[in-house]
């Protein structure tokens, strides 16, 4: 992670902030107006899936991207959220629009599952952590297929919603847009907080972070549960949109790998990375599956895309683009401003350096400063 905004001086920063704010407002207006312009359900279908993955991708990245613990078990929360809404609606006879009142329950179930899951899985690191998340994932998939209250292999269906196809998609567009906005806001909030700094300290060197007073288990578990809450909520929305869930679709192994791909393509550990990644990957994937119904072409193309991304844009689009912009801006000038002009603040440090410098140590303990990485 570089220091793109690090050494820019006062006036320029203000102007840039203003521009960024304007761009955000325009973007928000564009996303809100989107279904008014493109009213075709075919188009909004793409947008809804993309937004679902923007939300889950941000949630995944908020834990895995920030902490460095790559989870391949987030489908557990997503699928459990979906099943929660379905089973509750079926058993409590909730019909019509009232099913949306069940969504908070999906979020709670995601969080409740994440606590024991995290307490077991977060004791181990790296590859072992990844494999435990896969194991828990399969346990959930098999439970969904074998218990009777989950409907076995035929799964659960959602109650009928009294909307026409067009308004059905429009409603879900705004619901998923809301979910995505919440997920991005949570991720941005975490990233800016002391908590987010502690998470990244764990990613860089967990033992040293603990030595510096970070309560690593508590921090990791909190992030895991927070991420699972959002994933459970979005799982519930996804279920209502698709109107059905079966064990292999609710607990889909490719789901987790798609999340990794999206975050990786955009930029692991940045707030905007998974958003961009999801907006590129999910519509692309959907288009390929719809166009090539015989399966193998889309698989080969997706595999080739993955290879290209990892081999040629290994750091993700956002950080790579940030480097290019910096290169263009600093053309003809020294890339690093002379030491005397550099502000003494933390903003010029990488998070790797943070953990070792005195300022960084204070930041981890209680200071309000934070690292100026790309956001």
């Amino acid at each position: 992670m570089g220091t793109v905004m690090g050494t820019v001086t006062g006036g320029a920063t203000g102007r840039r902030r203003g521009l960024a704010g304007l761009a955000l407002v325009l973007l928000a207006l564009a996303t809100v107006a989107f279904p008014l312009v493109f009213s075709s359900p075919v188009v909004t279908n793409y947008a809804i899936y993309a937004l679902i993955f923007v939300a889950v991708g941000s949630a995944w990245n908020m834990f895995s991207g920030f902490s460095g613990y790559i989870s391949l078990g987030h489908a557990v929360f997503f699928g459990s959220g979906a099943y929660t809404v379905g089973i509750a609606a079926r058993d409590w006879h909730v019909n019509g629009v009232a099913v949306f009142a069940l969504l908070p329950l999906a979020a709670v179930v995601g969080a409740v599952i994440a606590v024991p899951f995290g307490l077991v899985a977060l004791r181990v690191r790296r590859h072992t952590f990844i494999v435990i998340t896969i194991a828990v994932f399969f346990i959930f998939q098999l439970m969904a297929a074998n218990f009777s209250f989950t409907g076995g292999t035929s799964g659960v269906s959602a109650p009928f919603l009294p909307w026409t196809p067009v308004s059905f998609n429009d409603h879900f567009y705004y619901i998923t847009l809301g979910c995505a906005a919440v997920a991005i806001a949570v991720a941005a909030g975490v990233r800016r907080s002391r908590f987010g700094l502690q998470l990244r300290a764990i990613r860089d060197d967990e033992d040293r972070a603990r030595g510096l007073g970070v309560q690593t288990m508590r921090v990791k578990l909190t992030a895991f549960v927070l991420s699972a809450t959002v994933a459970g909520l979005v799982g519930g929305v996804w279920f209502l949109y698709l109107t059905q869930v079966q064990p292999p679709s609710g607990f889909d192994p490719l789901f987790d790998l798609s999340l990794v791909l999206m975050s990786f393509l955009g930029g692991l550990g940045t707030v905007s990375g998974p958003v961009l990644g999801a907006l590129i990957v999910e519509p692309g994937q959907l288009y390929l599956t719809i166009t090539y119904t015989n399966g193998y072409v889309s698989e080969i193309l997706l595999g080739a895309l993955l290879l290209v991304v990892v081999l040629f844009v290994p750091r993700g689009l956002i950080p790579t683009a940030g480097e290019w912009i910096k290169k263009i801006q600093t053309r003809g000038r020294p890339a690093v401003s002379p030491a005397s002009q550099r502000p003494p603040a933390l903003s010029g440090l990488r998070s790797e350096e943070l953990a070792t410098s005195d300022e960084g140590r204070q930041g981890l303990k209680g200071g309000r400063r934070r690292a100026g990485e790309e956001i």
Binding site: G68, I70, L72, V120, R123, V124, R125, R126, H127, T128, I130, V131, I132, I134, A135, V136, F138, I139, L142, M143, A145, N146, D205, D207, P253, L257, V260, L261, F264, L268, N294, G295, Y296, V297, E299, I300, L302, G303, A304, L306, L307, V309, V310, L311, P314, R315
Partner: protein
Amino acid sequence: MARQIYQAIADGILVGGVYALMAVGLTLIFGVLDIINIAQGVLVILGAYLSYQLSVHLHLDLFLGLLITMPVMFVIGVVIQWAFIRRLRGRERTSMTLLVSYAVALIIEGILYKVYGADDRQLSASYVQSSVRLFGFYLSDIYLYGFALAVALVVALYALLYRTGFGRSVRATMQDETAARLIGIDVNRVAAVTFGVGVAVTAAGGMVYGATNSFNPNSGYDLISRLLAIIILGGLGSIGGALLASVFMLTVESLVDIWSPQWAIVVFYAALVLVLVIRPTGFFGRPPARAQ
């Protein structure tokens, strides 16, 4: 009841031998290259399809066919390592190798779909259907032969690792890559050859798997998750651990299978989680070195 239990244990040990063949390749690759090779499951299936091709079109015996499929798979493994995995460096290497090996798996799976379609296949030979009565148990011939093959290959692998100069370089690289590089070991070559050997051994596992189970291009995902559970349980990078864990896991699964076939596979993963709660490094894992 007691008979059933003994039979289940015998079955578990024999099937465990087959899984050991596949798991040993995966754990060896992990030990040397420090990656989780998600493609290993699909490579098993690829090995099974190669054997299928040889036995159906050239009428070659399954075990003789291995003399062709194993070198082919060795070359495929070396090429994968050389083309993709060698280039991955840096802090996100763990997730990058996941993505790359997943990409390789997707491409191989897609090609298999294109060539063979989605139908289930199974390898057939005279000894696939027959069984032999031993000490009052019925043991099918293919499992016995497969077990013998597993033992032979694992012994050969041990000989390669502990009796040759190359094996010494492999073990040195597993212990400390930087130090191995410093004393003049060509770590890249060791990594490429190890990947090839790991994949070649897997091809043998794939043949036995294909003779005892029906398979299609999609079967790799179920396999890789089981294999990962096995090598984590045995302790990452430990060959002996992988052997023991395969036999242990498959015996447990086969025992639970007596009472409830659909829950047997859940117990498989639950056993992994339980063991890791008690012993985070698995049976024979070394405590993780601090990454710097």
